[in-house]
């Protein structure tokens, strides 16, 4: 129950926090509109959107995002399903493995990836295509904590074992059970996991930068080094993209308890 | 002068009236139950006594001192919550001693009082445990000991047993009454379980929609309910619409049967219902009693009791028989005679 008393501090801290959130946002927006001296214009945005490198890197990241998210779903959904069905004992262990990317900082992970796969016997960094395989694997690993959590939460909210047994008793085979019972019940969880993973790929800069692939993150680094107003415009665009992605998750996950978020990425 | 006095208490939440003109006098050492359906305002009334809510109008006095607007931590009234509300970061002993600690009692005294309280609830050996390591029943006993350790002037319990399972509930019920008698503690006990209220209380306050329906001893509440609500809420009862033949003599007509009831009506009042409890009915025909005949409609085993429904010209009359070994049970459809004395039947 709330006491009706109005308290100064209860307003002070939230307002201070909102200021802290909104001032840089507003500052960036304002800055991004001032590329043309003395007038407000969208020139910075026009320049960015017309930049072939922007288009190339954005396309590259979207394609990489779709590929790695698809692979990630194909890998994790059957795995988590199998854990719930047959080897529940493995769950704590797999859970720990799935948060390893939090313990191993991205920069260290990328360090290990490069030092391992750029050398014999793998030599995966010699051609762009081989490097892209490495990139996709890296993205799958980096988004694994979110993907695993989303699917795990979804799986826990339905009684996998009973549903499967019911399906079997009605004569369904395993593929039918997976595709007509389990996945339809998990689609919200899978979708929110996929969106989070996709957002991770779009925002990830270390992999693309160090593996020298034209990823969106790497493009941002590049622009940041050489331009003044475009980075602000790109920052606003990124902000909008994150917002759309999270908004989509909230819309899809409405009413379901699968609440997984990307947190604290620096 | 009464010990605890509630006078014309009203409580409204925005436009919703939760408690409507509640008045009650409680004597020292008395065990009072608030009984009523969920949402009837029992908790709200109790919380006003504790000081967690303040009445919209009316006053509360303890030992003649007005406490209506005193903050809860200045009242010295102990409360036991439905959810136990034990502090999870403290051991049982620390929980029990908490009230003494915040009032700066010295540690030796606290230790003595905690030991005393622990033995009161027969948990001497569990003082070092954390609440998470206790069963629900044990937790609620600790909550009781914690409330009693501050030697409160009044003890309040809000459905303290409703989160426990049936067996523990029965056990703890007796224990609460034992401790209350031992300490001669003035107690208000909120429940929606009539059995609890009937077994525990000195007096019961039956509430409905924020209003007091009846305040009386358990036996009078059961045998002489003053309103239709009380009659039907407490225990099982047969209630039928009737037409009056002789108001002064209490004679009515039930679907063509002449019934004599104990309640002689006031001049001009128009009763519309007669009431009789199922256990007052006996099989067979008896001279001088009210006799009815009908067909057996259903037979239900309720364990120690068998409840038989008889269709008397469209009125379904329930009769309870003790389930003795030699009880001969009629078959559905049988013709059946029942009788009940005019004393056991009243008009509403």
């Amino acid at each position: 129950m709330r006491k009706g008393k109005l308290n100064f501090w209860s307003f002070f801290w939230p307002i201070l926090a909102m200021t802290y959130f909104f001032v840089p946002l507003y500052g960036t927006l304002d800055f991004s509109l001032r590329m043309k001296k003395g007038v407000i214009s969208l020139l910075a945005y026009q320049t960015v959107l017309a930049d072939p490198q922007f288009i190339e890197s954005f396309q590259y990241s979207v394609v990489m995002g779709i590929v790695s998210v698809t692979l990630s779903i194909l890998l994790f959904v059957p795995t988590v399903y199998w854990i719930y069905l047959k080897v529940p004992k493995a769950r704590p262990f797999v859970e720990i493995v799935s948060i390893l990317p939090f313990i191993i900082p991205t920069i260290v992970f990328v360090f290990g990836l490069i030092r391992t796969f750029s050398r014999p016997p793998f030599l995966l960094t010699l051609t762009p295509f081989k490097t892209d395989i490495l990139m996709a694997a890296g993205y799958i690993i980096l988004s694994m904590p979110y993907m695993f959590r989303a699917i795990d939460v979804g799986m826990r909210s339905i009684d996998v074992k009973t549903l499967t047994e019911a399906g079997q008793s009605l004569g369904a085979n395993w593929l039918q059970i997976l595709f007509t019972i389990i996945i339809p019940n998990l689609r919200i969880a899978i979708l929110s996991g996929a969106l989070i993973a996709f957002a991770t790929v779009l925002g990830e800069m270390i992999l693309g930068d160090f593996l020298v692939r034209p990823a969106f993150g790497a493009y941002l680094v590049l622009v940041g080094r050489s331009k003044a107003y475009e980075p602000a415009a790109l920052s606003i665009i990124s902000y909008a993209l994150t917002w759309i992605m999270l908004g989509a998750i909230q819309v899809f996950a409405k009413g379901s308890s699968s609440q997984s978020q990307l947190l604290g990425r620096g | 002068m009464s010990y605890l006095n509630l006078k014309n208490i009203y409580k409204t939440f925005s436009s919703n009236v939760a408690v409507d003109d509640f008045s009650l006098d409680i004597a020292q050492g008395e065990f009072i139950s608030f009984l009523g359906p969920s949402g009837c305002g029992k908790t709200t009334t109790l919380r006003m006594v504790a000081g967690f809510e303040y009445p919209t109008a009316g006053s509360i006095a303890l030992l003649g001192n007005e406490i209506t607007n005193l903050p809860p931590n200045k009242r010295n009234i102990g409360m036991v919550f439905q959810s136990y509300a034990l502090f999870p970061n403290m051991t049982v002993a620390e929980n029990i001693g908490f009230g003494l600690k915040v009032s700066n009692t010295n540690t030796i005294e606290i230790k003595a009082r905690v030991t005393e309280a622990l033995s009161l609830i027969h948990m001497q050996d569990l003082g070092g445990r954390y609440p998470g390591q206790l069963s629900g029943g044990q937790q609620q006993r600790v909550a009781l000991a914690r409330a009693l350790a501050i030697k409160p002037k009044v003890l309040l319990l809000d459905e303290p047993l409703s989160a426990l399972d049936a067996k523990i509930r029965l056990e703890l019920r007796l224990e609460i009454r034992r401790i209350q008698k031992q300490l001669n503690m003035t107690t208000i006990y909120v429940t929606h379980d009539q059995e609890e209220a009937l077994t525990l209380s000195d007096r019961i306050v039956v509430m409905n929609q924020g209003r007091v329906e009846q305040v009386d001893t358990p036996s009078r509440i059961y045998n002489y309910p003053s309103t239709e609500f009380v009659a039907s809420f407490v225990g099982h009862i047969n209630i039928f619409p009737v037409s009056v033949i002789d108001g002064g003599e209490g004679i009515v007509d039930l679907s063509g049967n002449k019934i004599r009831s104990r309640k002689h009506m006031q001049e001009g009042a128009i009763p519309v219902h007669m009431a009789v409890r199922p256990e007052e009915l006996t099989p067979g025909h008896r001279e001088g009693a009210n006799n009815l005949t009908g067909n057996i409609h259903s037979v239900q085993y309720l364990g120690s009791v068998v409840r038989i429904q008889i269709d008397v010209s469209g009125n379904f009359l329930s009769m309870d028989l003790f389930n003795q070994r030699d009880l001969s049970i009629p078959m559905v459809g049988d013709r059946f005679d029942v009788n009940f004395s005019s004393d056991s039947c009243w008009l509403l």
């Binding site: 308290n7 002070f12 801290w13 059957p78 795995t79 992970f109 391992t116 994150t242 620096g266 | -």
Partner: protein, 306 residues
């Protein structure tokens, strides 16, 4: 005929899998071993080898290298400062919007915005800060306009860069990190604060306790594991952050991740094995932090489960 043979072998394969259910996790483990365990082990084993491939503890000696020591010191300074700020500030905000009397709309804005801001790290965040607090940034410009004339001539007390402020410094890093750590704190601690039962507070008052006594004996003791856990989460998030720092300061502040980044690009340490040792040390710090975090979470879960 062929169909049934194929079926038969499929069934046999299936029964084999049912009898050895762990094998169903094989694809997952193969992937993890190839792309997570192997690269990590490669680093960690490398940390204990000299350049001839012989086993040695010598690389761990880099901890005595003043350059490395400095990077750890700076990393700890930045991470701890920003986590303390984030923890305190975030707790107060979370308290105000849960148990406090902040209006509903503030709560809604802050909660959904926290979800967004906690995800807004990396390069775009650095850009935003440069556009806001950089030399020509929006806020810098606004503050610079606040001038008045006194006996000594024109004074501009809020001219940040005249007064020693520099965004491309540790202060700038702390400001930027707080942008995603503050909402992270709000998101993680708000449920814990909301989990504080109203009954506890009432039971305390009922037993004669004041508000201060409630917080001293009940509120803080129950919340501190959650607060500490959140602090550790914030710390590890800050400690591992690379992109924001790199983009904001161009690598001019020697944080541990920045040094590792330089090592990846060009073996600045002359000895690759020392680079591996540095990575190992960083993982150890993170591992300890996450282990502590998990332990504290379990501890609070036990209480909340009551």
């Amino acid at each position: 005929m062929q169909q049934s043979v194929k079926n038969k072998s499929a069934i046999r394969w299936w029964f084999w899998l049912i009898r050895n259910p762990w094998l169903g996790l094989l694809p997952f483990f193969l992937f993890i071993i190839a792309f997570l365990i192997l690269p990590s082990l490669n680093l960690f084993v490398g940390a204990f080898k000299d350049q001839q491939g012989q086993f040695t503890f010598a690389n761990v000696g880099i901890i005595q290298n003043p350059y490395i020591q400095k990077s750890f010191r700076v990393s700890f300074q930045v991470s701890i400062t920003t986590s303390i700020i984030g923890t305190l500030f975030g707790f107060l905000v979370a308290y105000a919007i849960t148990l406090g009397n902040a209006p509903r709309w503030m709560r809604n804005i802050l909660m959904s915005f926290s979800g967004l801001a906690a995800n807004f790290g990396g390069v775009p965040l650095a850009f935003a800060y440069i556009a806001t607090l950089g030399r020509t940034g929006f806020v810098t410009y606004l503050l610079k306009q606040v001038c008045f004339t006194n006996s000594k001539g024109q004074v501009c007390p809020f001219d940040l860069y005249q007064n020693g402020f520099n965004l491309y410094s540790m202060v700038g890093l702390v400001l930027a990190y707080t942008y995603f750590l503050l909402p992270l704190m709000v998101l993680t601690i708000a449920p814990a604060i909301e989990g504080m039962k109203k009954d506890w507070r009432e039971a305390c008052e009922n037993l004669g306790g004041s508000t201060a006594q409630y917080w001293l004996y009940v509120g803080i003791p129950i919340l501190w594991p959650s607060i500490l856990a959140s602090f550790i989460l914030l710390f590890s998030s800050a400690f591992g952050a690379f992109a924001t720092a790199q983009a904001l300061t161009g690598g001019s502040i020697y944080l541990v991740p920045i040094v590792i980044g330089q090592q990846i690009r060009g073996d600045v340490m002359n000895n690759p094995n020392e680079g591996y040792a540095l990575a190992l040390l960083m993982v150890i710090v993170m591992g300890v932090a996450i282990a502590l975090y998990t332990w504290l979470q379990k501890r609070t879960a036990k209480w909340v489960a009551l």
